[in-house]
């Protein structure tokens, strides 16, 4: 009897892949992907490089991509020529409150839509989703009027209150909660847990990837938001970073180098957060399309 070559067998035993000969120390796909990645990176690198240039260099054509001597003082100049610290603080407060409130409120609403039976649930969910289709320009003025009547103009409240819960977050978490096995919650109900307890002790810990994704997305949106602060805030002490950075760009003068230095500083928290949460972010996106 001849020995069986396991590599030819189907199924688990035969899953041993034959060693593939490698022509390159990396996948050939990288030859395509690396130039594309570079194209994505160029604007970012340009911002960073411009932040180290003199004003004259920024106005040079063709653009100078390597300043030669680095103007490090652009950074302290940008910090001191405007109330950068105040704007950074405002943005941090608004973003933190909005992210946290979205996590809590969207989770509560999403759990209701995913699991609790109530009259008109389907219709309510439909209309909620329909609001996602409405562009912000359409609701800008009505929302402005509401915020004005609440006497929130020129306060951080104007940036926080309309964004406490985001329909996208409700939608995303509803879809995620629906993929969790219902038996886990039924077991917890039999074991004596209340609805809220089930949400906080069973459902949310199992939804960390989705929550992390929502947190990152919401953080990016809120941190980078420009249009809504522009409409509701016109006093400098309530400016957010994105709004404040515009003051480097006046109708008579353009401090592009300082603007870019400010931009780099405002980008740092976002970059750091993304690097820290990248694992969750990618997993969260992947989980949306895969059944556990």
């Amino acid at each position: 009897m001849s020995a069986i070559d396991v590599s030819t067998l189907p199924g688990e035993i035969g899953m041993v892949e034959p060693p593939r000969r490698r022509w390159l120390p990396f996948s050939p796909w990288h030859l395509v992907l690396m130039p594309i990645a570079l194209v994505m990176l160029v604007p970012l690198l340009w911002v960073v490089m411009t932040s180290f240039e003199t004003l004259a260099q920024t106005q040079h054509f063709p653009p100078i991509l390597w300043p030669g001597s680095f103007q490090w003082q652009n950074y302290p100049n940008a910090l001191h020529s405007v109330p950068f610290g105040r704007w950074f603080w405002n943005t941090t407060v608004v973003t933190t409150v909005v992210v946290l409130s979205n996590l809590v409120l969207c989770a509560l609403a999403a759990y209701g839509f995913a699991r609790i039976k109530f009259f008109g649930k389907g219709v309510a969910y439909f209309f909620l989703l329909a609001t996602l289709m409405v562009p912000i320009q359409v609701v800008l003025i009505p929302t402005f009027l509401i915020v004005k009547q609440m006497h929130l103009l020129n306060t951080l409240g104007a940036l926080i209150v309309p964004n406490l819960a985001n329909v996208f977050g409700i939608f995303m978490l509803t879809q995620f909660f629906r993929t969790l096995p219902i038996e886990l919650e039924e077991a917890a109900r039999i074991d004596g847990a209340s609805r809220l307890k089930i949400l906080f002790v069973i459902v949310l810990p199992l939804s960390l990837p989705a929550l992390a994704t929502l947190a990152v997305i919401q953080f990016l949106w809120t941190w980078n938001d420009f249009l809504w602060p522009l409409v509701t805030i016109y006093k400098e002490n309530a400016f957010t970073l994105q709004l404040g950075l515009m003051s480097f760009q006046g109708s008579h003068a353009n401090d592009t180098n300082l603007l870019m230095a400010g931009n780099v500083m405002s980008m740092l928290p976002v970059l750091l957060l993304f690097i820290a949460a990248q694992r969750y972010f990618v997993r969260g996106i992947a989980t949306q399309g895969l059944k556990g």
Binding site: P181, A187, A188, R189, I190, G192, I202
Partner: protein, 375 residues
């Protein structure tokens, strides 16, 4: 005393599908009752109604004398093991076991003591700090049972708890479950579609079909005296052979098979013969019997299963269990599929014809219209 009583329990789902239809039965204190039936017969729904996970449309369920229709699951003092175990994936085995006790605000020392006692009983001591994802199927199954039993419930519900295990482990866990029940004596309702589990585990089995109770009784009684043609075809693996026949003047006939049965009125009947009720004999055998055309021979080691056809009309009873429909599609109208269980040394050749003798005493008769057994 923890009886569970179903009194005319009905479940109608939104859209009108009737899952359970007027179910009435009593599970006695400490009894191990099996709810068995094919997929979609309402057995799991019935169990979920006891647990409080499904609302009861009509009728009532009482647990230990208390009507529980409107009592939330946590206040019914029942525990349930789910088919997929439903262990909390983010908690360790220890936290899983103690979850129900923590919800009931039991003192920490008591939780620790009961969790470790349960772990010792189920052989989980070394696994307390692991998460469910790090356990084998059998270990998860044990944790699921431990989590249900740790708070010493009045009633223990199991919904196909062994169906996710491989065949060998299933046999082992079956024995463990039986031992556990003997030791604890908790009133248990166990849902399965597996004949072997039904026959081996239960004090009694309740056979359900299309939401209705077909028969309830001791497993052997149900096997020996099926109440109707459904139970006859469902209980037993391979299932009972069912042929169309008739009774005229005390003579039962189904194709070539003719025998006398006193006291049965003239009627069209379904003749039921268990696979082990047939014997291979020579063609000169004078007793009642028929010719079997052999199609497939399955040697199983301790026995041989022979599938073939006989000259008779098939009863047309098709119950979705593995073997029942094996050959049914291919046979001609005047032939009926028959399965025979033979001794391991008997191996008829496929394609040949053999003569089978039937012991008239072991033949079951059912009314062709109502399907009810004719005793």
């Amino acid at each position: 005393m923890t009886n569970v009583e179903f009194d005319g329990v009905t479940k109608v789902f939104p859209g009108g599908a009737v899952a359970v239809d007027g179910l009435s039965l009593t599970v006695s204190d400490g009894e191990f009752l099996i709810l068995v039936g094919p997929s979609g017969c309402g057995k799991s729904t019935a169990l979920r109604m006891v647990a409080g996970l499904e609302k009861i449309s009509a009728g009532s369920i009482t647990v230990g004398g208390t009507r529980v229709n409107d009592i939330p699951p946590k206040d019914r003092d029942i525990a349930m093991v789910f088919q997929n175990y439903a262990l909390y994936p983010h908690m360790t085995v220890e936290k899983n076991l103690g979850f129900a006790l923590r919800q009931r605000k039991a003192p920490k020392e008591e939780i620790a003591q009961r969790v470790s006692a349960m772990a010792a009983m189920l052989g989980l001591e070394g696994l307390l700090q692991r998460r469910p994802g790090q356990l084998s199927g059998g270990q998860r199954q044990r944790v699921a049972m431990g989590r249900a039993l740790v708070r010493e419930p009045q009633v223990f519900l199991l919904d196909e708890p062994l169906s996710n295990l491989d065949a060998k482990l299933r046999v082992q866990m079956r024995a463990e479950l039986k031992k556990l029940h003997h030791r604890l004596g908790i009133t248990t309702i166990y849902v399965t579609h597996d004949q072997v589990e039904a026959m081996t585990l239960g004090d009694r089995i309740a056979v359900l079909s299309a939401g209705r109770l077909q028969q309830i009784g001791h497993p052997q009684d149900v096997y020996d005296h099926p109440a109707n043609v459904f139970v006859a075809g469902f209980i037993g693996s391979p299932p009972m052979n069912l042929l169309r026949g008739s009774v005229r003047d005390g003579q039962v006939s189904a194709g070539d098979l003719v025998f006398a049965r006193a006291g049965v009125p003239d009627a069209d009947v379904i003749v039921g013969i268990r696979p082990e009720g047939l014997r291979l004999v020579g063609s000169d055998d004078p007793g009642p019997g028929f010719e079997l055309h052999v199609d497939v021979v399955e040697p199983l080691g301790d026995e041989v299963m022979v599938h073939g056809t006989v000259s008779a009309r098939d009863a047309g009873v098709r119950i979705e269990v593995e073997e029942a429909t094996l050959l049914a599609d291919a046979i001609e109208e005047d032939r009926a599929a028959v399965t025979v269980r033979l001794a391991p040394d008997v191996r008829p050749a496929p394609g040949s014809s053999v003569h089978l003798s039937v012991d008239p005493e072991g033949v079951h008769l059912f009314d062709a219209d109502s399907g009810l057994a004719i005793r």
